[in-house]
Symmetry: C2
Subunit: 164 residues, 2 copies
Amino acid sequence: MTMDTQQSGFIINMYIAAWQLQNKRFAELLEKLTDEQLDAETAPGRNTGTYLLGHMVAVSDAMLKLMGFREKIYPELEEVFIKSPDKSGKARPSAQDLRKYYHEVTNELNGFIDTLSPDEWLDRHMAVSEEDFAKEPMRNKLNILISRTTHMANHQGQMLFLQK
Amino acid sequence: MTMDTQQSGFIINMYIAAWQLQNKRFAELLEKLTDEQLDAETAPGRNTGTYLLGHMVAVSDAMLKLMGFREKIYPELEEVFIKSPDKSGKARPSAQDLRKYYHEVTNELNGFIDTLSPDEWLDRHMAVSEEDFAKEPMRNKLNILISRTTHMANHQGQMLFLQK
């Protein structure tokens, strides 16, 4: 491994650290919130904490497939927590179950994340064709990690309002 | 320039793109909000939009210094928007002025950001000593950009609640 390949790996590890820090903060917030607090709205008329928790699980679960690691663990969550808004009336898991799913999906994802080489991080993700990727090389696996980190930070800001 | 130095530059540019996308979204949200909406609380008893806007300006202004580019443009904002909570009663600029400051500080920052080489991105930021940096090489300028991007995403999520 050359010094410069080491440099690429170092920079990628900084992004992985940012993803893991965001997930650590999210897990810490979940620990502080009761199931009753999660079931409440983040602000009047806005999404509940439970919906946003389910949304986070569904988005992280989709990363498993999008990054080429494996099939989703809970594919049924997409319909309820991504395609449908909160209060859709569709049956959904409890806050208690979603907490477990969050940790299960995150641990599964982080296990795969630790195995990628810099070149693999810069390879295309599964929702872009080879042809489009040749024109837009930033549509790679690393970009999924970056965009999902800011996405989680965005919703975490809202979920902070669930605290007393 | 070797292929691998190019690779480091490419990976860093992905992160600069994430920072710029976050700022673009923030600017778009500001466009949608009236000054009256900014002056309202994001949720009952929580920070106002104007406070969070001032907080964003103060944090980005501090990046100018922390990343070694130049002195702050509005150093007085730190006391009101970082050291003090909202509703501190301290005199502060209007929402209208803070909009201008936001664009001014962001443009200044992005001008400098475009000039850094990969090695400069990986050099220490100004709040860490050379001795500590030797032990913790991730405390570099790139890390400031990464952490400020998720910080802004976090507060943007809250400011979305200001919209009707």
